[in-house]
């Protein structure tokens, strides 16, 4: 409306002011409104992503509570037997990075990758990495591509199941890489707003059988130990995947909440500039009309 009227009245003057505006580096009304619209759309998207991850988080936390005994039980065995890696033998380490395929969730995956990078910096030659989830692979492949043993993807779209974990454990056992000690690197879920990147130790069968304290358990033959270690690896991976999934969803929730807040701030600022610019345009037009009329009389 405004534009049309001015164009009828003062087409030349309008062009001149437009030019002047652009020369001064000030955004035009149209540019601001386009930007405002796009920021509003982004806010809508982040808000709905937050809602989705909130629902997923609620489910992940419920699942995690059910999965915790798996992890605690499996850890107890290693604590009770006080297994230590054989220091005389050449150490062969295996790191299992528990992440997922999906991003937009803060520093969840970066934290895991950073911890692994630290480990690799210490002993690059004797360490291999098993990446669960595309994100850890994406981060690690550039610098330490040679240390990656295997990548598991399609993780994180659905909540992890025990079958997923046992498939991964199966691959770990069948890679042909004879590790003496290993670590599962994952994000331990602490509360909605915090998680911590932690590690769980895993050991191979030969290391376990050398342990002196194994006698605390009665009537163990090597077959039972072997079967148990296989199962405990699957349980530990299952537990860490659940912890990781829960941390990821809670972190995504926070990240999306922050993004919506930032978008809100941007919208406020843009609305303010939009209104100011509109006011300025109106004022200038009035001045132009009045001075034009004054010049005629």
């Amino acid at each position: 409306m405004m534009m049309q009227r001015t164009q009828l009245l003062l087409p030349l003057a309008m062009e001149a002011t437009m030019l002047a505006q652009q020369q001064r580096g000030m955004a035009t009304l149209k540019m601001i409104s386009i930007r405002l619209k796009s920021v509003k759309n982004i806010q809508k998207i982040t808000q709905s992503m937050k809602m989705v991850s909130a629902a997923k988080y609620a489910r992940a936390e419920r699942d995690l509570k059910a999965a915790r005994p798996y992890g605690i039980g499996a850890q107890q065995f290693f604590e009770k037997t006080e297994i230590q890696a054989d220091e005389k033998a050449e150490p062969k380490k295996l790191l299992i990075a528990v992440t997922s395929d999906r991003g937009l969730c803060g520093a969840v995956h970066t934290g895991v990758a950073r911890l692994i990078r630290g480990e690799l910096a210490q002993d690059e030659a004797n360490t291999k990495v098993f990446c669960v989830g595309d994100k850890s692979r994406a981060i690690l492949s550039r610098l330490y591509g040679k240390n990656i043993l295997m990548v598991a993807n399609e993780v994180g779209r659905l909540p992890p199941t025990f079958l997923d974990a046992s498939k991964i454990a199966n691959e770990v056992l069948q890679t042909g890489y004879d590790y003496t000690e290993g670590k599962i690197v994952y994000n331990r879920f602490k509360s909605v707003v915090s998680y911590q990147c932690s590690t769980l130790p895993i050991f191979s069968g030969s290391t376990v059988e050398k342990s002196e304290k194994l006698a605390v358990y009665d009537s163990l033959d090597s077959d039972v130990v072997k079967s148990y270690l296989e199962f405990s690896l699957a349980s530990l991976i299952f537990y860490t995947m659940k912890e990781g999934a829960c941390s990821e969803q809670s972190s995504r929730m926070t990240a999306m909440d922050n993004a919506s807040k930032n978008a809100g701030e941007m919208i406020d600022k843009l609305t303010l500039t939009f209104n100011r610019t509109r006011q300025a345009v109106i004022t200038r037009e009035l001045i132009e009309i009045i001075s034009g009329a004054a010049a005629l009389t």
């Binding site: 399609e154 199941t161 079958l163 498939k167 991964i168 199966n170 077959d223 296989e230 199962f231």
Partner: protein, 64 residues
């Protein structure tokens, strides 16, 4: 008990087969829920010298 190990199956596979059979033996109203736990879509790619190596098709068939 060790018969399955002679077939080249480890305990994880053994217990998963057992779990699948149990799930399939559930009552119909419980089976639908349990069937969701029977799904796994994880894919694996071995890496050699910093490059992904696609697994041979023959190998994958024998695994599944």
């Amino acid at each position: 008990m060790k018969a399955w190990r002679d077939l080249g199956i480890n305990y994880i596979q053994y217990s998963n087969i057992a779990a699948r059979v149990v799930r399939e033996a559930l009552r119909i109203e419980l089976r639908a829920d349990a069937a969701k736990r029977n799904i796994s879509i994880v894919k694996f790619t071995p890496w050699v010298n910093g490059k992904p190596v696609p697994r041979k098709k023959v190998e994958r068939d024998s695994e599944s």
